[in-house]
């Protein structure tokens, strides 16, 4: 499913994970904002993984107006590359393989 970050309904400031209150303008109403692409800022190969885990790369991404995300990938992404992302039912943000 499509990843949704949140945007303040009053000033538009973007957050992920969602907050209770916008620290910029004080509003407490947010709306979902779909994100399908993000830029890779760091990535690491995790050497010890749980059995059955399909991913071995942990990736830090930047999306929208500088919102940072932690996601998983099954292969090494290039730092600086723009990648496609989605969020699974269980909450995991993952890179969609090319």
């Amino acid at each position: 499913m499509t990843l949704q970050i949140t945007a303040c309904e009053r000033c538009g400031a973007q957050y992920f994970p969602r907050r209770l209150r916008c620290h910029r303008c004080g509003a407490s109403a947010f709306q979902g904002l779909p994100v399908t692409a993000a830029r890779v800022t760091a990535a690491t190969q995790v050497h010890r993984t749980l059995q059955g885990c399909p991913w071995s790369w942990l990736v830090e991404l930047e999306a929208g107006q500088g919102v940072r995300l932690i996601a998983a990938a099954d292969s090494a992404p290039s730092i600086g590359a723009t990648v496609r992302v989605q969020q699974q039912e269980d909450g995991a943000v993952v890179l969609i393989s090319a």
Binding site: H23, A42, A43, T44, V46, W57, G66, I70, A72, V94
Partner: protein, 380 residues
């Protein structure tokens, strides 16, 4: 000048494995403090406890098991800042006359599965967004952070290795450290990777352990306690709304005020204990506290650290001694108080009159949100 003083600090030797419970470890730390300072337990009217694994028990349950009748209680679950956070509250309580003698305890005991459970359920963000990834844990998150730190400052793995090796040199003289064998750079670099660039020696060994501090009104203390004065203490949490890069902490906001209110400057500080969950965070805290000039990181790791000119994490730090959960948040404080009291045996520094201790922790989603620090001075 504050009427509250630190009268004592003890650490029960950490252990890789234990059959004892967190409650029993807390009891051992209390006993060690009572014995070293010949305390009358009836004089203790305040108790604070920091622990992740004590639940369902809380501070009051420990007070009951110890037979204490406190008028002041505190539970703290803020990990790497819990030791200094409890100290900050205890000092205020004593200054306000709410208590005369406060014991602060910290302990944790993890079985392998307990530790994974704690890491996976650390908070709601972790539970909902990181746990489902299966590979997101403190090691892999701080690996991402270390990579960005390396790229920004032009550091290589050997630069972080210098810190680990320097701390290991201290640990060789600490009989309570888990890792005591001197380590070469080759050994550091060849160690198995956990999540590149972090290898196993960049990550703290998980241990069981307990620490304890006694904070009293100055009139309760005797000269044999070798008391330590808290010249300044403070924290700044969530300073960047968790929207930054994790390469600075709230210490960057409070360092100036801390030195100012302590009446000391950075040059007056004899030893530093920074919270070393990862070498990168030691560097970040040292930089935030002014021990590394803004453009002096390379010189610091390549010259200052190997030369031993700055006495930091003189116990060997958590990287050598081990991390006993929330007790890790008291470890650096205990080391500093014992150095200032001249109780460090073979690793005692020749000059230890003043110390700076910092705490860091509570990873929300990407890095730690909490930071605090204290400036201490020996009264001996």
């Amino acid at each position: 000048m504050s009427q509250a003083v630190i009268r004592g600090a003890v650490e029960v030797s950490y252990a890789r494995r234990t059959t004892e419970t967190t409650t029993q470890w807390l009891g051992r730390a209390f006993d060690a403090l009572v014995e070293e300072h010949q305390l009358d337990p009836a004089s203790i009217d305040g108790l604070g406890v920091a622990s992740f694994t004590l639940r369902p028990d809380r501070c009051i349950d420990i007070a009951w098991r110890l037979g204490l009748q406190p008028s002041w209680l505190m539970d703290d679950s803020n990990g790497g800042v819990s030791g200094l956070n409890m100290l900050q509250h205890a000092v205020a309580a004593i200054e306000c006359g709410q208590a005369r003698n406060i014991v602060l305890l910290a302990a944790d005991v993890f079985q392998a599965t307990d530790f994974q459970e704690m890491a996976a359920n650390y908070n709601r963000s972790t539970q909902q967004l990181l746990r489902p990834l299966g590979i997101a844990n403190p090691n892999s998150l701080f690996s991402l952070l270390t990579q960005r730190h390396m790229a920004r400052h032009g550091l290589s793995r050997t630069d972080y290795g210098e810190l680990v090796i320097a701390q290991r040199r201290h640990a060789a003289r600490n009989p309570q450290a888990v890792h005591r064998k001197p380590m070469s750079m080759d050994e550091y670099l060849k160690a198995p990777l956990v999540a590149g660039p972090l290898g196993i020696y960049d990550c703290v060994p998980v241990v069981a352990g307990a620490d304890a501090i006694l904070v009293s009104h100055v009139d309760e203390a005797s000269p044999r306690d070798r008391c330590v004065r808290v010249r300044a203490i403070g924290g700044r949490h969530n300073f960047d709304q968790h929207e930054g890069d994790g390469l600075s902490t709230g210490l960057s906001q409070i360092a100036g005020r801390l030195y100012e209110s302590s009446g000391l400057t950075r040059e007056d500080i004899d030893l530093v204990s920074v919270y070393d969950d990862y070498p990168v965070m030691s560097l970040v805290q040292l930089q935030d506290l002014g021990f590394i000039p803004p453009d002096g990181l390379l010189h610091f790791v390549r010259e200052t650290v190997p030369s031993g000119r700055l006495a930091f994490n003189t116990s060997g730090g958590q990287l050598s001694v081990g991390q006993a959960g929330a007790a890790g948040g008291m470890h650096g404080l205990v080391e500093a108080v014992r150095q200032l009291g001249g109780r460090c045996g073979e690793r005692q520094l020749p000059r230890a009159r003043t110390a700076l201790v910092s705490g860091y922790g509570m990873v929300e989603y990407r890095y730690g949100m909490c930071a605090n620090a204290a400036v201490l001075e020996s009264m001996a």
